[in-house]
Point group: D2
Chain length 155, copies 4
Amino acid sequence: MSEPVAEPAPLSPADIEARVRRSFEKQRFMATLGATLTHIAPGEVDLSLVYDERLTQQHGFLHAGALATIADSAGGYAALTVMPSDAALLSIEFKINMLSPAEGPLLVARGRVVRPGRTIVVCRADVVSVRGGTEKLVATMQGTMMVVRGRGLAD
Amino acid sequence: MSEPVAEPAPLSPADIEARVRRSFEKQRFMATLGATLTHIAPGEVDLSLVYDERLTQQHGFLHAGALATIADSAGGYAALTVMPSDAALLSIEFKINMLSPAEGPLLVARGRVVRPGRTIVVCRADVVSVRGGTEKLVATMQGTMMVVRGRGLAD
Amino acid sequence: MSEPVAEPAPLSPADIEARVRRSFEKQRFMATLGATLTHIAPGEVDLSLVYDERLTQQHGFLHAGALATIADSAGGYAALTVMPSDAALLSIEFKINMLSPAEGPLLVARGRVVRPGRTIVVCRADVVSVRGGTEKLVATMQGTMMVVRGRGLAD
Amino acid sequence: MSEPVAEPAPLSPADIEARVRRSFEKQRFMATLGATLTHIAPGEVDLSLVYDERLTQQHGFLHAGALATIADSAGGYAALTVMPSDAALLSIEFKINMLSPAEGPLLVARGRVVRPGRTIVVCRADVVSVRGGTEKLVATMQGTMMVVRGRGLAD
């Protein structure tokens, strides 16, 4: 935890958005799922996912792993919005509760920072299913992200 | 928790294997990822996954969500091996720690039942990365599965 | 999950409060810690705890286990406010993040129901440290409670 | 993560044991519960706790928070056995499943390191209830500890 003497200058909102989009586009798994970035603000990132049979479990609902994937990425990118520009982001761990069967047709994962820290950023993500303008909470995640420096990783 | 008076007869090992394979084949997300069933025994199910760029995060490692997906399915199917034949399985929640970057070329998720219960089955899954005969632990999950009856679901 | 045909009548707010107080008073660990009930409403229970050296870890902060205890009880009693009168409550599992050292002098755990279900109730609890009218979030919990019937337990 | 150039020399088993005992004695909450250190080895620490009515929940079983407390301390001290001598230990988060009612008369929490890292140590703890030489698993925990340097904390 011997932090660098000079902290990098904070990023502008436009720089934060560009940074999140650039990293998101490198997450090949997001394209495989069909997830898209639909909201970026300091401490907040939303992802959207259209229900697709390729992503289902045995009863035809979205697989818990697909929900976990968009929750983890939404929470992680929310964390990235509050991280120094010279740092990279790693998911240390997360915990997710599945609350209702996820049928879609649209899913939105809303990642929010709960506590930004120098080394650890704690975040949360709610996943809602949207049908005809009505939302239903289908999963909720609480996770821990690490600010990584000096390991040859960038975000 | 008013359990039925007559419990269904326990399944034979061959029936257990057939049941897991039948349900697994309905999990479309497993085919999308390329995951396969590689071990089934009472209380134990292993899944294998070959590293694929379509499943990566921004640094080129397997996405935490892909690891969570195979861990959840391995743990869930381990739980299914100890469930009554008239019950279906739902993932209530899980927690996963990412321990090392997951590079492959082969990943194996080993689901194991920690405690079988009438309503709740607690399981664990370790995910290892295999290269040239050497294993590295890349993630570990602890999760809770529910035995569901009478909701029109089957497994 | 063969639910009883006749659901018990819902409880009045006064009955809910009486039920929570009665069960809380039986939790001997609450008295040992010095925790008190400070808010009860449908889906919401707050507990308060005065910092005490008997509850500390090695650096003089409140032990993570003491924070977990009041978070679990606050979340559990929030869940009890939405449970049928003939059901008892069991903690299945919880996950807690420690966000800041907990120094007091006053700690408040705010339990809230995230999703009430017939068998499973998911809840959350934030623990804040209060000093001179200012609050600091020190821990946040996400947990799973089970509605138990017919096992000889009551709440 | 700019680590110090010179790592401190590794500790001898006797030094590890002395370090754990010294820190444990400062955890006032352990004395309040009546928990004692019963096993220390590299990567392993066990705590024992005698059932006491002061630690119970509303049905007379040990409170989930008491189980969480000994699990967290056992896991944390297991982590401390693998940490550099100039580092202190903080619990970032843990998740615990309650598997059976904990009645005692003796409880043992077995903390084990799952993965030692430079900054993050992941651990696990099983809590067993012991009666007449027979053990029953009553809870299992998975948690994340952080290696802290340069914040004025020591262990």
